[in-house]
Symmetry: C2
DNA sequence: GTGCACTATGACAACGTTGTCTCCACCCGG
DNA sequence: CCGGGTGGAGACAACGTTGTCATAGTGCAC
């Protein structure tokens, strides 16, 4: 900046005035300055600017389990859209379902003085966030609630969705329904299992724990579960996949099976409609999830001091075929 | 920081020493300082630190067409992995295939003093990058080359891949092959079309322009193309989808067709193996693309001054069924 | 000619850090 | 008792900006 000032024969303050479009600069001077800027390829240093002005950095942080998972990348996109409309940029990070990594990312983002943080929490301990939030960094939890603090949260109706799935299968005559969920440490997985149980009760089906499998989904693990739960004389005639990862592995495990149970998945996914049979799912609007969370965050950024809010977004069953077959 | 210093009864420089783990601080003093930090919830301001030290900001920028597209989110993930290993964080942005937006994002990132930029370019004009690159911000182009400047680039073998696709179909007896590509303004689309043409020549098939359709893929447009190219007496017996978006729309358009042509897609995608028939694709390792680009970027960040490099990653055909049917 | 408002510009401090230099107290060997 | 080394700590400037205030020059009404 001082180089530009020297070249243009003005003070550095005048350069500042020009780059900030402040009035009260003579057009000729402004032009000289612009020329110097052009010639030297000057860009103002936003870091220094933010420091001096004490203003916000114009960035927000987004922490998800894995930015490469289509579910989270759709969320990412929705968040980015809102951020852009508020003139902010997005720092992203993958926690890999590891709470230490989550914490590391959050603190790093705070040190960078992001204007706010959106997080799909991996752990259940969020006390470390209290000083940050008190220091004025708003935090909104997405898809899963905070472990041990009260904070803004946007969720989907996991319970209602799974109940609906069970009811749907029961309506088509199924009495033995298996549930394959993600690790029970994950809020959504636990909640959906709760919904499964509740759904059984409401439909007069005795809840059978031996038809439930909760584990981080890998092809191998799901394959084993399929062998165990969907074969033999007492096999389940229908299965619910607890999330999109489980669903994909399950579909692959069933691909060459002689017998295909009825199936409903939680979370919609691309091409579900083109499979044979098309996959019935409990769908929810991931974009809406990101949208709502980001809107809430920016309300906080702009000074909204109202009590922490909890938003629960609706889900709906999309019947495509796989869930409508009789036992 | 001065608050911490006051509370601990030391100078602010000593606080700095403590937070930076510098030696030559008395353990008792350090403990007092730590306690004060804890009590006040102090976090050092990374912006100010970077300003003072003149060091890098520890961030890199990644610009893709759409962070929500699974192809780019996988790329994003690979980039993040490398960035993390270098202790950097990633700012992401979607250009939406709009070169003005791309430019805006790049300049914004530069103003934030990112250590480097990875970009899947939307436009063909990159002169605006010259001052930035001269100022020391390395830029690596991913998936598509820079329009009018020489710069590091990582591509996949679009030409070879499409030739292979044509050859594969020809080997299975097809002589009338349609090509559905993305907008010809996009480098990869144009390059794959070139490969299609070359593939026809090499296999003694006369290149028929009426069997080619190049357009931003929408369900409607692909549906029309299918009606036009794959019906009637002179219809194509096989079709090549120019990228993953085209493939998905094409599959949907063909889902309920009475006649299914043979098909090969460029870009692999999830569940391609579970469709009926499973989709034969020209696959390439998207993670490797991000990996290679990020590695190259960090080499530059760390001072590698060698001439700009152009890396072309191999592709390979994955025969799954859809491409192995006779006319 | 004097006073006043107004325009265009500059000097300087400050944002929150850290690098450099200096200072003081203490210990040790001679 | 003195000189020199060492360990611990502070004063100060500087990073690249911008907000505040001051200044010089101009035009205009009295």
């Amino acid at each position: 900046m001082s180089d530009v000032a020297r070249l243009a024969g003005v003070s550095i303050k005048t350069v500042s005035r020009v780059v900030n479009d402040e009035p009260a600069v003579h057009p000729d001077t402004a032009e000289r300055v612009m020329a110097a800027i052009e010639q030297l390829g000057f860009r103002r240093n936003l870091g220094a600017r933010n420091l001096r002005r004490g203003s916000t950095t114009g960035t927000i942080g987004l922490i998800v389990e894995d930015v490469g998972n289509p579910f989270y990348s759709e969320l990412n996109r929705a968040v980015e859209r809102i951020a852009t409309s508020f003139g902010r940029q997005v720092l992203t990070g993958s926690s890999e379902e590891n709470s230490d990594r989550e914490r590391e990312l959050v603190l790093e983002f705070c040190a960078r003085r992001v204007d706010g943080i959106l997080v799909v929490p991996a752990g259940l301990q969020h006390g470390y966030l209290v000083p940050e939030m008190r220091a004025g960094t708003p935090v909104v939890f997405i898809d899963r609630p905070a472990g041990d603090i009260v904070a803004d949260t946007v969720l989907v109706d996991n319970l209602g969705g799974t109940i609906e799935a069970v009811t749907h299968l029961a309506k088509h005559g199924h009495r033995r329904i298996a549930f394959l969920g993600d690790s029970p440490d994950i809020f959504t997985a636990a909640e959906r299992l709760r919904g499964f149980r509740e759904g059984c009760v409401r439909n007069g089906i005795s809840y059978d724990e031996s038809l439930v499998s909760m584990h981080t989904p890998t092809q191998e693990f799901i394959g084993d579960a399929v062998k165990r739960l969907l074969h033999g004389p007492d096999a389940a005639t229908a299965v619910i996949a607890g999330n999109n990862r489980v669903a994909v592995h399950l579909l692959r495990a069933l691909a060459h099976a002689e017998y295909r149970p009825a199936m409903v998945g939680f979370d919609d996914f691309e091409l579900a409609d083109l499979l044979d049979p098309p996959v019935t799912v409990i769908a929810h609007d991931v974009s809406a999830l990101g949208h709502a969370a980001a809107e809430l965050l920016f309300a906080r950024v702009q000074g909204d001091q109202s009590p922490p809010r909890k938003v629960v977004l609706p889900v709906h069953l999309v019947a495509r075929g796989s869930g409508e077959v009789a036992p």
